[in-house]
Symmetry: D2
Subunit: 305 residues, 4 copies
């Protein structure tokens, strides 16, 4: 990409000039108090070149984006056995819906909705004696952030108010698709979602999905090439809840969003890009993040389609 | 792709040796009487190189694959105004479901489910004085098949038994999202789905989606480059009904299937591939077609992800 | 009931003094042009005593109330074989919903929602060579109105705009639970709903449900005693769409409403009462009708509970 | 009712001679180990005459039947304010469905499905400092069973495995329609459902619903006459989950069932009848209980309709 920095800068300025609408996620205090005007971008190529704009070194809660990391961990450990516990179809519904679970007997539609991530946390609880430490070690290794910690205040907030997620866990357990106690599983889930990163760290962490499963610079093998492809496929069809089609249509890259206002997108064999802006559109995806990635790919025409 | 013919041949033989399960579509006589063991493949690159296997020159009913052609026609005529009449999100349900229409007030989830295609036919009825002739002329032009005709026996069969589609049309009209009479609209819809092509013709016809919107060889501009991308995005997220995630996961290419056993898939900027085998899996997609495309992309690793 | 006229009069005055809210049904012109302030009541005891208030001799379109008459006709002809074609459970949804039909394979929830009445019309088409005449003759006989006619202008209006009902008929036919053509069946259905009566006529017509299945005064046997009980049971649980619980709770009598603003209710072995006032509440039931019956049974304490 | 004992005996023998199908509830050990052939009946008139057949003095777990007692308690304390927290419409779905709660924002359809009973338990937790004791005292008073205890082993079993009910409580709390902790509320709920009675005790306990709200013999005022009517109306439309229409149709009395195989039914101003037989039909209602009440009311023709 010739002139990547220039295109990023122009796109950044273009989005900055737009009306800035939407609302910061308010359901836990830690998310609602963030400065809503922060806006950062980082793109990293598979060769390790890095480009940034704005608040690219400010930490934010990556929330549901972390579900992709639990997916890569579980796939690297048990491979396609994961699909005995869940499906990989788009849900066509909101991220925390219970409706489909009832008609589909506790089998989550895909790993990137809450129900699927909760079942993955159950699998991680089965795989490790100390699942919270094991998961943190894994994310440290993939991200290269040696001193990464869970944001325990955010996890505690979720624990105090996460009734919908407790409902999901208990509902799935009533179908016997959770093996550990609901408290163990949701505890891990809330900690997973509490992880914080900067745009720079997030873009780098997801670099393995732009590099055939090997991490950028270190060549650490995170997942097999075929698994990297499939994680990208799942992000493409399921990464944006009931806005998955919108994201494929407007942006055309596999990606994942979080209610903290973060977004990451992948051009396979080319680059990983992270965008962060806390105000969310009505589907729960970053308002500026969506606009940025739409304008950016309009400009570069670098999409998978 | 070095050695494309060789990879196609090997994949073809591999699928031929597998158990051949599934059932031919039986809901109209014309589809049920086809020889179920026919199996053809054609790949055409954006440069016009063509590779085939098996029954690539036998005509078959392309059925729902034709919905993509109505989409390209409508987009080329009215552009994004289309999205005032329907959405572009995966449905997560069967191709002919009425459930979502009720809660979503007659707005189809996307253009590639029956409801969406029916609304596109209504738009085509608005655009042209003689919509059946106009649509046929359009498909003739894009496909280069000068003497293409509707298979009127198939259209008549659908007309005699297509109660679910009449129900969809009337239901949508009750929400005022159909402007013409339901009979006019379903007549066009049944004719659209009746079109027959060979694998060679089908692969060529869809070539514009692998070539930035311009038809292969002729350079005829079918849709704008950005529209070609978006059609590919919609095929990726919505092209296989409730198996859209499966196809993205296993094949990793945007594509579309029909109950006649045909399938087409696109590697943008590279090639268009058509596969045909009449027996369908339980989701209504060609059993051998799915297997062929999965093994083929496993071999070439040429996917969008 | 001592002093029945007095209680009716007092209740009538009480309702007249209330704010008169709601909207007249507007979906067909013939219903929307009625004077919204008309308000009639007629109660007839099983011994033939009759009490009236207000506009009790003005004709109005009884609409869905007529579904009960198709039910009594079908039960008298084929008995419990009816239940091979439909169920008798409350639907918990709006009167014209298609959602349950999809998950329940074209088996209507009960005879008093549109889907069920359409299937009853299909049965009537099977039973008689000239079903429209046969149905009219039947209603004439039960009601004693020798010169009753279908209101063909209302039927024609429904025929021109009844897309939801056409959708229901075609949808049910796709499940093979309609045997005649959808046009034949909906034609009969629209004529059934077009019948007009006065409150006096309506109260009398339903008298057999307060009299063990025999018509008041004439002793004509309309249905068996056990069938009369069961029609009452079905009216109790299913007669008011998604307001069935509300009506049981507030009024406590089996009954049936129509979008023309009519309502009929039965105290078994005692009386039949008809109320009519065109403005509808948000559930599609007569606003004043509901209030009248609630206050009336509060006063008399004559409910089945 | 002349010859009540004779009719009861004949009906009892008739049901005994039928094939005895169905399954005992197995989801908690305490219910699954009961002798499935036990079968008891008790009818008590509002004047205090009592008639019994079979195992009328054997205790069994009344389970969901107890929800009616929580309803009478709550209505007697807060009256119609209850309806700010739930509705009184039939659900048309299984007793423990979560689907409607999602589209209806955490407002249970009625007090007799699990979701509604859980919200009533929340209200009882608000009303009393020691809700478990208060509820037990209330049931002792209404039933006249001075030494009634919760079956703590059954409550403990439910607590260990009641994931679906925990899911319901957390789901409702996510909509802020539960004020206390989910553990407090479900603890009370599981204790409520653990109550055991004999047929004699159960028939007597529900006597106030056949007697204008006053308990039989003692004349203790349990609820107001209008409230007794409305509890009966709610039992009629909502007392048998997705078999409510079936019960109205076949039996024609307001009533309530429990998965322990108990059933109670009311003929207002006449009698209360309890039947118990542990094997359940596919809807979760006592197989013999349904048959007994159907044949009994066929014989006596004593139904509300």
């Amino acid at each position: 990409m010739i002139d990547c920095q220039n295109i990023l800068d122009n796109t950044y300025q273009k989005v900055l000039k737009m009306e800035h609408v939407g609302d910061v996620a308010s359901y836990i205090p830690e998310l609602s108090t963030v400065n809503p005007d922060q806006f950062g971008v980082c793109l990293i190529t598979k060769n390790g070149e890095q480009f940034t704009c704005g608040d690219a070194t400010v930490k934010f809660s990556i929330q549901s984006i972390a579900k992709v990391l639990s997916l890569s961990l579980v796939l690297s450990k048990i491979g396609d056995k994961l699909w005995e516990r869940m499906d990989f179809e788009p849900s066509g519904t909101a991220f925390n819906s219970l409706v489909q679970l009832e008609s589909e007997n506790g089998i989550p539609r895909n790993p990137l909705i809450n129900a699927g991530a909760i079942v993955m946390c159950d699998i991680i609880c089965d795989l490790f004696d100390d699942p919270k430490t094991a998961l943190l070690d894994y994310v440290r290794e993939v991200s290269g952030i040696k001193d990464l910690q869970y944001a325990t205040d955010i996890a505690a907030s979720e624990q105090a108010t996460g009734y919908r997620n407790y409902a999901l866990a208990n509902f799935i357990k009533s179908f016997e698709n959770i093996h550990n106690t609901c408290n163990q599983v949701t505890d891990l889930y809330f900690h997973l979602c509490s992880i914080e990163m900067t745009c720079e760290q997030l873009a780098y962490t997801f670099g393995f999905l732009a590099n055939q499963g090997k991490q950028i610079k270190t060549d650490m093998k995170v997942v097999k090439p075929a698994q990297a492809k499939r994680i990208n496929a799942i992000m493409q069809t399921c990464g944006f809840y009931d806005e998955a089609g919108e994201f494929a249509f407007r942006v055309g890259l596999p990606g994942k969003s979080g209610v903290g206002g973060g977004m990451v997108a992948i051009l396979p064999n080319a680059f990983s890009i992270a965008v962060w802006s806390p105000k969310l559109n009505k589907h729960g995806n970053s308002y500026r993040g969506m606009k940025f990635l739409e304008y950016f790919t309009d400009e570069t025409q670098d999409t998978v389609f």
